[in-house]
């Protein structure tokens, strides 16, 4: 049922922006790249056309969405009328400014996150509140902002916006992306306890044959951080043991942790086997995990030596290109120096 809330005389539409506060964090900045010379906020601000199921159309400014009703202010020539429309009776909503989110998404998909953020912020500012009414493309743009924040080093904003959107959407594909941002964001912020809590909840939701290894990878990385190598190894092996031919997100992270933990535990043979398997499955080493660089270099050298040996003679040679371990034999260098200094009898 539609109700006329009020009518009033307004001669001008309030200019400017209404800053949106996201979870008590700093308001999103109002500056964004222009679209054809016009500021994105201006582009996004225009009238919205709402078509109901019975084909009635309302054109005006949105004034909020709550309790299943959309508030819209329509200027009817004499003044403004505010309507409250039941969302269930709305057929379509046409928002202005599609170029903003389109360009923002293009930049986002091209990984030009710094340039994408201002546009996505503008979209978020004007559209996030109306998430259930957005089309797929606009929803994607809104949901892209948290990840864009994360990629530009703004973990707090990433987590804040992601958590907000999680409260608003139940679409699985978006929830997955937002939960990924939250997990990674907590890690970047050093909030390991929170990250562990979220990761455990994630793992509990996933079940035995998961589609993503993220929850386990995060938990395992936290254990690695604390040098709990056994725990890290067990946790990271979970998604690996259950992985199939279907690509699994973040599986390479799980492998990297498992290999690094095996190596730290002195189980180099196991680490080597996992490394080979990872390579055979064409999983690249996660570049952002610089703490495993040494481990990666170690096994890469072994891989290279093996390939060279196989290439040269066809026989697999027993090569151990590792630097010599510190052991009783090592000081022989010193001892031999001494022996060489002593006269042969």
């Amino acid at each position: 049922m539609i109700t006329r809330i009020r009518a009033r005389l307004i001669s001008t539409i309030l200019p400017g922006l209404c800053p949106v506060v996201v979870l008590g964090l700093a308001p999103l900045p109002a500056v964004a790249a222009d679209i054809d010379g016009i500021a994105p906020d201006t582009v996004l601000q225009g009238n919205v056309e709402i078509r109901l199921d019975d084909n009635r159309i309302y054109t005006g400014e949105l004034a909020g969405l709550s309790a299943g009703r959309l508030a819209v202010i329509v200027f009817d020539g004499t003044g403004e009328v505010e309507y409250s429309l039941p969302v269930a009776e709305i057929d379509t909503v046409r928002f202005p400014g599609n170029d903003v989110h389109r360009i923002g998404l293009e930049l986002y998909h091209d990984r030009q996150y710094n340039d994408a953020v201002p546009l996505l912020e503008a979209v978020f500012r004007h559209r996030a509140e109306y998430l259930p009414l957005l089309d797929a493309s606009t929803t994607e743009a809104v949901a892209a902002l948290p990840r864009a924040y994360l990629e530009t080093g703004r973990a707090i904003d990433a987590v804040g916006t992601a958590l907000r959107l999680l409260r608003q959407t139940d679409q699985p594909e978006y929830r997955y992306k937002l939960e990924t941002v939250v997990l990674n964001g907590f890690i970047d912020l050093g909030l390991y306890d929170r990250a562990a809590e979220e990761a455990r909840a994630w793992c509990a939701r996933e079940g035995p044959y998961p589609e993503s290894a993220l929850g386990w990878s995060v938990l395992a990385e936290i254990e690695l951080r604390d040098e709990n190598y056994h725990e890290a190894l067990w946790i990271s092996l979970q998604p690996i043991a259950f992985s199939t031919a279907r690509p699994m997100d973040h599986l390479e992270r799980a492998y990297a942790v498992a290999i690094h933990a095996s190596h730290a535990l002195g189980e180099e043979e196991k680490g080597w086997r996992l490394f080979r398997e990872m390579t055979d499955r064409h999983l690249g080493w996660p570049e952002d995990r610089t703490e495993y660089n040494e481990t990666h270099a170690f096994y890469s050298r072994m891989q290279k030596a093996l390939e060279e040996a196989e290439g040269s003679s066809g026989d697999v040679l027993e090569i151990d290109p590792r630097p010599a371990r510190e052991d009783l034999n090592l000081p022989l260098r010193e001892v031999r120096k001494l022996l060489l200094a002593l006269p042969d009898d």
């Binding site: 092996l237 043991a241 199939t244 279907r246 009783l328 001892v335 001494l338």
Partner: protein, 965 residues
């Protein structure tokens, strides 16, 4: 489980452009007919074309036939263009309406008429091949498809033609050819769907033909684009079947890879639906009722996927079975953690079938065992036996529990479980193994008679089984461990005769030689060893045998032969090699050939293949010693200091205390030399300059603390402590030990420090002592100081009432270290234990053994006498007890406490016997021993003496005797 699959290939046709051309051409051609016949021909032609467009091929074919029958004489039929256009349509209509032989004839007619004149017609060529195939003329079909491929190599249908050929070859039982073609197809640049289909088909046929290796190559060598390929269900079940074949062939690693390609059902259903949706959305539309090749292909594929999906949804969920297979593949390829995770997920899932959960649970135990997580394995196994007590697998699970106990050296618990197992399942097929394992546990507990009973059962009840010879060998070995060498020898000779050419023959022969050596029959042992070395040059005990030979030669005084034997031991023999090197060095040293010692050990140090267990510090020490013997301390000093610098802080390094002793000796010499060396530097100078070796030790100790070298610090502390104790400054010695124990973490202490400090701490009631001793046994199970641990822990067990464990440790101590300085204490404790556990005869024998040890003279002997006295008193034999007490106060007057107790206890016994005079006299003698006056017992004895006097005086009065005072 496998889904039904329709492997029939779709009916392709290339009608789009060709047919439109043909149909259009027909329309253009038609108006050329005569007015009357054109109407009839035209209408018929229109009707035929209409029917054809509507897909009513049967009607179209009939109409075309009628057209030819009625108008075949018409000039229009003479027109090549008309026939060229209509014949392919007629043929196609005949083919589609189920008359392939007619279709073949029509197409052949076309080719006969137009093959040379016009460009080859791919439509005709392909459909002719199809017609031949459907007419049951496979050879002709093959030839025609080959022609098609040759004439039209780049067309999409070419790949389909290859698929068709492969199918025909399969039908003709020419699987190898078919598979080869499909392999080539899968590696070509044909469309992805067709390549995938070809690869899957080839793999399925290879599996069906038992060509597992080929199937594995086809399935595993290249990736599958699971996200894009439509036939993902086929891949899943093909991969599972291949996995099963690979497991049968014991190729577990590849099996694991294959199982990984199989998707769990939930994922497969989702993917299948997505693929079907995508296929529907992307399916090419039929144009004017004429289906194109792609349309047919998609249609058939969609129908197949529909059937697969229906089967998936109807059938039971195969995912748990897949998970179990994956776990098994991981288990057998030693990836125990992954196996564990998979098995656990099934075992704990209440929603799953009980049999499956039980199987998974049992394998979960195996995974834990594989990881050697014994505590966990025990828990999982116990849980299994609790849940599935009646299962056939329960006995095996119990056995694994016993095994886990045994691995954790909890042999009594292992014995308990195995005993229960043997009693509950007396007819089980694995009973031999249970007896064998229990016998082994008994042997480790030194319960040799029980061990032999089990080995006998394992041997006699199963004379032809795998473990029989092993059980027989162990039967003999128990005598060896018991040091009953004569019986052991008899047994090994029996075994030699029983198993002359068995895999254990070498072992038996070696054991016989070792027994002869233990008996002191050196010549016989040497002969036996030589024969073993000659007959078993590649036996695992070859190195040991060479060492034994060397030791035997040494014992027989054949020093050259000894050195020769030792020098033949190679580094592959592990610790035996290092032992042999130092034995040879010992020979050179014994001969006074110190140059040879240096040369020999220098060669040892220069080797690149020393491996673990290399005794570097020991070698350097011995070289230094040799230099000292050669009168070249200027070469010894630097060597010793370099060794201390490199190894002083290494808890694994041996000979450090020996180096310190050598340095002390050198230091003493430099103090006595008239002109001490002036050209020394650094550490050597510091030592030489020290006026007192203890001061040097103190300074080094201080430096070690400051430089964070804890092991070195502890060693110096122990050295200093022992020197203080020898100098009679016991308090200072104790303080140093306590400080060392407090300041140093036990994991930094070497065996000497652990043993001696552990012993001291335990003897003084400090809890840390037990920890030191346990770490000594754990970290250095073969160290020379382990007797301290055996004895100390035996005392702790005794104090805790764990008499069996205590006795076991003491037996081990006395077996391994009968000459240790704590041996007398160990014997006394053992005797006391035997008495307390109700075996007085054994206790008497043990005490008597102490008395027979010359090294135990003094207090230990006195204590042994005391023990004997107590035994006889407890046995109600006071006279014998008195005799033992009397020996104490006659022969061992230096030990006040024992002396006082002997006096007092014997007086009480005299009193028990009614001999008050003897009782009184005994106490009187005690009273007159000044050294006892400070003892508490002295006052008690004095009170008792006075009471006795009064009593005795009363009796005297009554008897009219004189007052003895």
């Amino acid at each position: 489980m496998p889904l039904s699959q329709d492997n029939r290939l779709p009916l392709p046709s290339v009608i789009h452009r060709t047919t439109a051309f043909l149909l259009l051409g027909l329309m253009v051609c038609a108006p050329k007919a005569r007015a009357l016949t054109v109407d009839t021909l035209d209408s018929l032609l229109h009707e035929a074309v209409h029917s054809f467009s509507d897909g009513d091929y049967a009607t179209a074919a009939d109409l075309f036939v009628r057209i030819e029958e009625e108008f075949g004489h018409d000039p229009v039929f003479e027109d090549g263009d008309f026939l060229r256009r209509v014949l392919p349509l007629i043929g196609y209509a005949e083919l589609q309406s189920g008359s392939p032989d007619k279709a073949a004839a029509t197409f052949e007619r076309y080719l006969g008429r137009f093959d040379r004149d016009t460009r080859p017609n791919p439509f005709v060529s392909y459909n002719l091949a199809l017609a031949h195939r459907r007419s049951g003329n496979p050879d002709q079909a093959l030839r025609q498809f080959a022609t098609y491929v040759e004439l039209f190599p780049g067309r999409r249908e070419t790949a389909l033609a290859q698929l068709q050929k492969a199918e025909i070859l399969f039908e003709q039982d020419r699987a190898a050819d078919a598979i080869e073609r499909l392999q080539k197809l899968s590696e070509s640049d044909a469309p992805a769907n067709i390549r995938t289909q070809g690869r899957l088909l080839a793999a399925q046929r290879a599996i069906a033909d038992g060509r597992t290796e080929l199937a594995a190559m086809l399935v595993l060598e290249r990736e599958w684009d699971v996200e894009a390929m439509p036939e993902v269900a086929v891949l899943t079940f093909t991969a599972m079947e291949l996995g099963d074949r690979l497991m049968e062939a014991e190729n577990h690693g590849q099996a694991a890879r294959s199982y990984r390609l199989a998707l769990p059902r939930d994922q497969l259903v989702i993917l299948q639906r997505e693929r079907m949706r995508a296929l529907k959305e992307n399916a090419p539309a039929a144009a004017g009722g004429i289906r194109g090749a792609r349309h047919d292909f998609h249609r058939h594929l969609y129908e197949r996927m529909e059937r697969q999906l229906a089967s998936l949804l109807e059938a039971d969920d195969y995912t748990p079975g897949l998970t179990l297979r994956r776990g098994q593949a991981f288990l057998l390829s030693h990836r125990y953690r992954s196996a564990w995770l998979l098995f656990e997920s099934i075992a704990v899932d209440d929603a799953l079938d009980t049999d499956l959960r039980r199987d998974a649970h049992y394998r979960w135990i195996l995974a834990a065992n594989g990881l050697e997580e014994w505590e966990e394995a025990l828990t999982i196994a116990r849980n299994f036996t609790h849940r599935y007590e009646d299962s056939d697998l329960a006995p095996q699970a119990f056995y694994l529990i016993a095994q886990a106990h045994s691995e954790q050296r909890r042999h009594p618990e292992a014995v308990e479980v195995l005993t229960d197992l043997i009693e509950r399942f007396p007819d089980h097929a694995l009973r031999q193994r249970w007896h064998f394992t229990r016998g082994f546990s008994f042997a480790l507990l030194d319960r040799f008679e029980e061990a032999r009973a089990d080995f006998e059962s394992a041997r006699d009840a199963f004379p032809e089984a795998h473990l029989t010879a092993g059980a027989d060998l162990w039967y003999g070995l128990t005598y060896f461990f018991e040091q009953d060498y004569a019986t052991a020898l008899t047994e090994f000779e029996r075994l030699e005769a029983t198993y002359p050419e068995h895999r254990l023959t070498g072992e038996i022969r070696y054991r016989r030689a070792a027994t002869l050596y233990a008996m002191g029959a050196l010549k016989s042992a040497l002969d036996a060893t030589r024969q073993f070395i000659r007959d078993f040059p590649r036996h695992e005990r070859h190195g040991e045998a060479l060492v034994l030979q060397g030791d035997l030669h040494m014992g027989l005084g054949n020093l050259d032969a000894a050195v020769d034997a030792f020098n033949r031991v190679s580094p592959e023999a592990g610790s035996m090699f290092h032992y042999a090197v130092f034995q040879a060095a010992k020979v050179h040293r014994a001969r006074g050939d110190h140059d040879q010692v240096v040369s020999h050990l220098r060669s040892y140090l220069r080797r690149d293949d020393l491996g673990p267990g290399a005794r570097i510090s020991d070698a350097l020490y011995r070289m230094g010693q040799a230099y000292v013997k050669l009168g070249r301390p200027e070469e010894a000093f630097p060597l010793f200091f370099e060794t201390l610098d490199l190894y002083g802080d290494d808890r694994e390094a041996a000979a450090i205390s020996g180096i310190l002793a050598a340095l002390e000796d050198l230091h003493a010499r430099t103090r006595t030399d008239a002109s001490p060396p002036s050209d020394v530097e650094g550490a050597v100078r510091t030592l030489v300059a020290a006026d007192n070796f203890n001061h040097w030790l103190e300074a080094e100790r201080y430096r070690a603390r400051r430089n964070d070298r804890p092991t070195w610090y502890a060693r110096l502390s122990l050295e200093l402590s022992e020197r203080e104790r020898r100098a009679g400054r016991g308090h200072r010695a104790d303080a140093l030990l306590l400080e060392m124990a407090r300041q140093t973490s036990p994991d930094k202490l070497d065996p000497r420090c652990l043993g001696r400090a552990g012993h001291y701490l335990r003897e003084n009631g400090l809890a840390a002592g037990e920890r030191f001793l346990r770490i000594l046994l754990e970290d250095f199970p073969h160290a020379a100081e382990r007797p301290y641990a055996h004895y100390g822990l035996a005392r702790i067990d005794y104090e805790n009432g764990a008499y069996t464990d205590s006795l076991r440790r003491l037996r081990r101590f006395l077996q391994e270290s009968p000459g240790h300085k704590l041996a007398a204490e160990a014997r006394l404790l053992k005797a006391s234990l035997l008495h307390e556990t109700g075996d007085p005869d054994a206790a008497i024998a043990a005490y008597t053994a102490v008395l027979e040890q010359r090294e135990a003279r003094g207090r230990p002997h006195a204590r042994a006498l005391r023990g004997l006295a107590e035994i006889h008193r407890a046995a109600g034999k006071p006279e014998k007890a008195i005799a033992y007490f009397q020996r104490i106060y006659t022969l061992y007057r230096a030990y006040d406490t024992l002396l006082a107790e002997a006096y007092f206890e014997s007086a009480l016994l005299f009193e028990e016997l009614g001999d008050l005079e003897a009782a009184y006299n005994t106490l009187d003698e005690m009273r007159r021993t000044p050294s006892l006056e400070e003892l508490e017992l002295y006052e008690k004895a004095e009170d008792h003496r006075l009471r006795l006097r009064a009593e005795w005086a009363g009796e005297s009065d009554r008897a009219g005797k004189e007052n003895f005072e």
